[in-house]
Amino acid sequence: MSAGRAPSGGRIDRARSIRFTFDGRSYSGHAGDTLASALLANGVSMVARSFKYHRPRGVLSAGVDEPSALVTVLRGKVREPNVPATQIEIFDGLVTESQNRFPSLDFDFGAMNSLAGDLFSAGFYYKTFMGPVIGPLRGTRFWMFCEWFIRRAAGLGRAGHERDPARYERMNAFCDVLVVGSGPAGLAAAKAAAVGGKRVILAEQEPVLGGSAKWSGETIDGIEAAEWASAREAELAGMPDVRLLPRTAVWGYYDGNTLAALERVNDHKADAAPGEPRHRHWTIRAGAVVLATGAFERPLVFPGNDVPGVMLAGAAERYAVEYGVLPGRRIVLFTNNDSTYRAAAALRRAGAAIAAIIDARREISAGARQLAQEAGGELLTGHAVVATSGRKALSGISVQRYDAASEVLSGEPRQIEADCLAVSGGWSPAIHLASQAGQAPQWDERLQAFLPPKPTQNWIGAGAFDGAFTTRETIAEGTAAGATAAGARASRAKPPEVEAPELDAAPAPIFEIKAKGKAFVDLQHDVTAEDVRLAHREGFVSVEHLKRYTTLGMATDQGKTSNVPGLAIMADAAGKSIPEVGTTRFRPPFSSVPLGALAAERHGDLKPERLTPMHDWHVENGARMYTAGLWLRPQIYGLPGETVEQAYVRETRTVRDGVGIVDVSTLGKIAVQGPDAAEFLDRVYTNLFSTLPVNKARYGLMLREEGIAFDDGTTWRLAEHEFLMTTTTANAGKVMQHLEYYLDTVWPELRVHVASVTDQWAGAALSGPKSREVLAACMKGTAVGDDALPFMGIVHGEIADVPVTVCRLSFSGELAYEIYCGAGHGIHVWEALMEAGEPFGIVPYGLEALGTMRIEKGHVTGAEIDGRTTARDLHLDWMLSKRKPFIGSAMMDREGLVAPDRIQLVGVVSLDNRALNGGAHIVEELDPENPRGSVGHVTAACYSPVLGKYIGLALVKGGKARHGTRAHVSDPLRKRFGPVEIVSHHFFDPEGSRMHG
């Protein structure tokens, strides 16, 4: 005899059979079954092994509160561990397996842990992982060695290593009223809010709406409660401003009435529809919230309360009524409250034999007594279960006379045969979201439960969440809450008639039956009542410490069934009342949330990439693309068989000898306009811009407030009140923010607008001694000779019928021009320049050649303007105007920033004819075995075609004073050591004759 399908009943579709596998074995269930109900229907009562002791465990609950029946769901090779079997809807082809067992669930080596139970008591990890402090292993890492084995012996499921191909999405929603929970209270609230014309979202974590109406067996307005719920659902679904979200767990309540919810869109399907996400992570911004989250039943703590077959009474009732499954054929119920009697009668009606109802109370209500008669079996009041028998499945229980007031057991234990023990220790309102959103919950002495705190945000409670346990009350509360949340008056319509047994949900204050044997408080983490008492004896006073020391209430179920019993046992040990001991504050998430859902399209799908207007041309012409921040830029345009070094050396030589072209569209570009634009630039740059004539450009340097170099670039004056500022690619966004910050908060009186025009302009730099001839060959509408277009001059004209603006400036050190046109014309102008350059042997060049030429010239970039260096460190002190203040000028002369031993920009030449690496240290004395004594580091390195040597730029203490001296690079990570000569950073054409030519 064991659990199995009832001959009739349940809200499953018996006409539809579904095949699934558990631990490699195929089973059959029906549409509407959860994995838990389907396994019980197949007589499978042991579904898991426990966390520490590897004890056989079954199904305790029927919902999200499940601590024991955790399984791994497999989709292909993708594993999702620790999913409660009570939350998995079965579908054809579902594959699941049990966890924390080896080699099998039935025969598990780890069960040996049970023999050493006392060793694994509260605080085991804290006591164990300290390492030996005495004895021969003192000071060794022996325990760290053991840790691997210990951690493997305990634990929950195992995560997989395969990439999860599922799609996850985020969703934003706004509503006037969010109703959480769709039991009678939630359905009533949603309707009351919706008839007020408000936008309503009703979120329900289960697949079917209705909550307790699905299994209460009551009648509402003359129809079965489940039918009533279906009718309400249909009504809501037909309202235009109502969104129903089944399979959606609201798991976090944040400031500003913002709530987080997880919708499991297709976990219940064999295949996803095209484009359908697996989960949606909802961010819901609600005007008001109705919390109708119901209550969790809690177990009683007694020895052997974890054997498969011990189940919450409400869950047993639910399996019978909703799923048509009998959790046992011969059932004993053990309770401290009236609600269990309804379950007993429901189980009897479904076909189970009720062996006994054991009530720890001496007196019970008339309603309960009547249901007990209906259920049949013995009624033993003033009794308690003191032990269970059976290891992998319950075979019976022992019961003794019990006095609740004195907690004394008396008389001889009596055995009762049973294959299911349905227990109830009372109900704990699901106040998690309210606790997240507010203050400490309040203890209710009558209900022996924590009720929600006073709202600190705009929420209203309804139903069992609020301590109202009759359906009549919950519907009335829900209706009132919905109306209030919608800002409407409460309806005067007559509340529905409910036919239900007269029962009192208030339990007797009994949490634990103290008898011999392991009595579990937290089934998920194998925390026993004795562990809680041990923690108390060891001095843990605060509940927060108790939680962390014993791990009570941690992990995936977050102690939904164990928190209150744990607190009660702690309070008892401390000789205090439960409210004196207090409770831990609930934190998000209410139930587990896959990380994939939080990452959503951040992972795998959208990686924001920025493409220049000429991107497709580069790719088509053999460029190897390189990621520079978000941008993709050509690194080299390699010829077949060329190495990166060969390619950039060839490109560099071509530029130095003839002409080359490079895409500079990524440079940050900011339009600075307004009557005070020149004044503004004088303040943000270290040098003067108000003196810059129209159609001229100037190189500028910005400092941060504390005097450190920030960014550099050229700024062009296009008109009296209009400038085009260019920034480094990397700092474009930061500079824009910096400028906006100053305009908005520091100098609001300046009439200046800034706008990002980085993407407006395609930019190409034409460099090399033949660049002028190439430009002249294709430029119309303007001359480009030295007179018309001197160094730092600007002209406007047309190339291939497209308007362009050209500035003569140079990063390469050669005669060079930057040509800008509208981004949509970028490829067109680029191709025209390539065509014009063909007779001159033009080549496109990439970042490597660009970098090589700037190193040869000693120009600085972000590698040197690295947030630590000053203008003086970089030999840019000539740019620090003494005629005006500017951002950073007040702080740049501080002692630390002008100290002679600061690192300064120098050049380095490799003396062993081997390449240098950026990031390598510069040392005076080389000692590869014991690298030390860094005096600086290499910031950039290349092979210099003009010098025929490997060179680099470096920031070195003392800087100029070391010119002509020898040092070494020390790069232990890449094992590169060798001699270098420190030289001026101007390797090539220090007078600038080439670019001025």
Binding site: D759, G824, H825
Partner: protein, 195 residues
């Protein structure tokens, strides 16, 4: 005149895509306006700016954050206090605006090449956009012609509602291809057509 090249490149695949069972939830297209211009007024000069925009384009903007207006081939909407985005299918709006907006009133920035205009239209437009933006796209909260400046991941977007179920999105050109690809992915479940 040389036709500007779309930044969408090979990511623009005309035709029907996504879940065939869903029909066409949204239609996605690039509207390719000839002019996208930002006009910004100095504090206190907002009304003068609105009048100048009206003179230059015929578009009568409401005074207030997020307000906008649409006409047959042009539209405008507020993107920040005293800042407006003006869009015209024809070229030359920047010059026309510059002629009417003196430096004492404000400034004009031509963004015709710098922003890419993408249109999402159809019964599921609000649903698809809600995947990307923390904005209330419902009609009462976001009326026709109104505009919003917002951000999706690192991609800045200005949005104007140009119909009951139609929105025009303005994104930085360099991000446009990546953003378009993501928009298409987001539209897959509802079925979409690219025009």
């Amino acid at each position: 005149m040389v036709e500007p090249v779309s930044p969408l490149g090979p990511a623009h695949r005309p035709g029907r895509h996504g879940n065939p069972a869903s029909g066409i939830g949204v239609t996605l297209s690039e509207t390719r306006p000839g002019s996208i211009v930002e006009a910004a007024g100095w504090p206190g000069a907002e009304k003068a700016l609105i009048a100048a925009i009206r003179k230059a384009t015929g578009l009568a903007l409401p005074d207030g954050a997020g307000g906008g207006t649409t006409a047959k081939s042009r539209s405008a909407f507020g993107i920040a206090p005293g800042k407006f985005l003006i869009v015209d299918q024809a070229e030359g709006a920047a010059e026309a605006l510059r002629a009417e907006i003196p430096i004492e009133t404000g400034t004009v920035t031509d963004l015709s090449h710098g922003r890419t205009a993408l249109r999402i239209a159809g019964p599921k437009a609000e649903w698809v956009l809600a995947k990307f933006y923390a904005l209330d796209f419902s009609l009462p909260a976001f009326p026709v012609s109104a505009g919003r400046a917002t951000v999706h991941h690192d991609i800045f977007t200005q949005i104007q509602r140009t119909g009951e179920d139609q929105f025009d999105l303005y994104v930085f050109r360099s991000f446009a291809r990546g953003f378009w690809t993501t928009l298409c992915h987001g539209a897959e479940e509802v079925g979409y057509e690219v025009r």
